[in-house]
Symmetry: C3
Subunit: 128 residues, 3 copies
C-alpha cells in the first residue's frame, strides 16, 4: 500500500528502470512488510536540470546518478524498521540497478490508514 515516487535524471534504459522499480518494491516488502501485490510507483525521468542537487551533503557525494525516492505509506513503523528499510533500499538498488548508495535519497511521508482508497471509491482499510 505505499505509493512511491521515484525521480531520476534522463538517459536510463527501460530495462534498468525496471530493475530499479523492482529493487525498491522488494525492499519495502522485505524490510517494511508492505504487501507484495501492492507495487504502485510513479517513475519520472526528469529533463536536464530537473533534479537539483549539491555536490555533497553531510559528507556524502551526490552525482547525476542520484535517485530520489519519496514513499507515502501508513504511519506506525518503528525507527528500527525504517532503518532496515533504508539499508535494504540501498543494498537492493546497488545490486539490481548499480545505484551508488551515496546517490540514494529516501523521504518517507506517513499517513493514517483511513487516507487511502485503492479503488471502487471505498476507504480500503476501514470500508464501512
Amino acid at each position: 500500500m505505499p505509493l512511491v515516487r521515484i525521480s531520476v535524471d534522463g538517459g536510463w534504459s527501460r530495462e534498468r528502470l525496471g530493475k530499479l522499480s523492482d529493487a525498491i518494491h522488494r525492499a519495502l516488502v522485505d524490510a517494511a512488510k508492505a504487501p507484495a501485490e501492492g507495487k504502485f510507483q510513479i517513475v519520472t525521468e526528469h529533463a536536464a536540470g530537473g533534479i537539483v542537487h549539491p555536490p555533497a551533503f553531510q559528507g556524502i557525494p551526490k552525482t547525476d546518478g542520484i535517485v530520489i525516492v519519496q514513499i507515502t505509506m501508513n504511519a506506525g513503523r518503528a525507527p528500527e524498521v525504517k532503518r532496515g528499510l533504508y539499508a535494504a533500499l540501498a543494498a537492493n538498488c546497488l545490486e539490481a540497478a548499480g545505484v551508488e548508495p551515496d546517490d540514494l535519497v529516501v523521504s518517507l511521508v506517513e499517513v493514517p490508514k483511513e487516507n487511502w482508497s485503492w479503488g471502487r471509491g471505498v476507504m480500503t482499510y476501514a470500508p464501512e
Copy 2:
C-alpha cells in the same frame, strides 16, 4: 485549498483530461467542503512505464487506465467525510471521464492550516 496531483498514462485527450480535472474538483467541493474557487491541480501524463501498478490489489483489478490522485489538504476531516470523498471521486470520475472505479487510487496527505501560502508571501489561514 487542497493541492491535487493527478497522474495518468499518456494518450488522454485534452478534453477528457479537463473532464477528469473538473470531476475531481467537484468531488472535493461537494463531499469535503473544499472551496469552489480553490481548484489547484498538477496533472501529469506519464511516459510509457511511468506508472507502475500490479494487475490487481486487494482483489480489485488495475489497468493502464489507472488514475492516481494524491491530495494535500488541511487536516481535520472526519473518517465519514473521507469516505464520502472517495465515493464522490469514484462516481464523478466514472460519469465525467469514464474512469473505472476499480482504477481510481486516492491518497490523502493532511497538513495543518499554517502550512499554506496561497500568494503574496502570506500565511493564508493565519496571516498576522
Copy 3:
C-alpha cells in the same frame, strides 16, 4: 534537508529556472535555517494544461506564471518561522526571477527526522 518540488508551466529559460531554484533555496536557508549545502529540488516544467489554477483565490489573482512549491521538511518550525519563510520565498522569487508574489503558492509537508535517508542506506539524523 528539505526536499522541494517546484512546478511551473513550460517556456521558462534555463537561466530563469536556475534563478528561481536559487531564490527558493536561499529563502529556506535564511528564513528556516535549512542547511546551505542541502539544496535538493525537483523542478518540473509542465505541459500545457498541466497546472490547473483558478483566475483568483481568496482575492489574489493567479496567472499562467504560477509557481507551486511543495516542501517536505522536518517538523518543528514555529508559525513565525513559517511566516518568515513565506515572506522570504515571495521576496526572493520576485527579485531573482520576476515571479509575481500573487503567483507563488507554497505547501509545506512536515515529517519527523527519522523519515530521511540522505545516502548510504543510513537514517541520516539518527544513524545507529
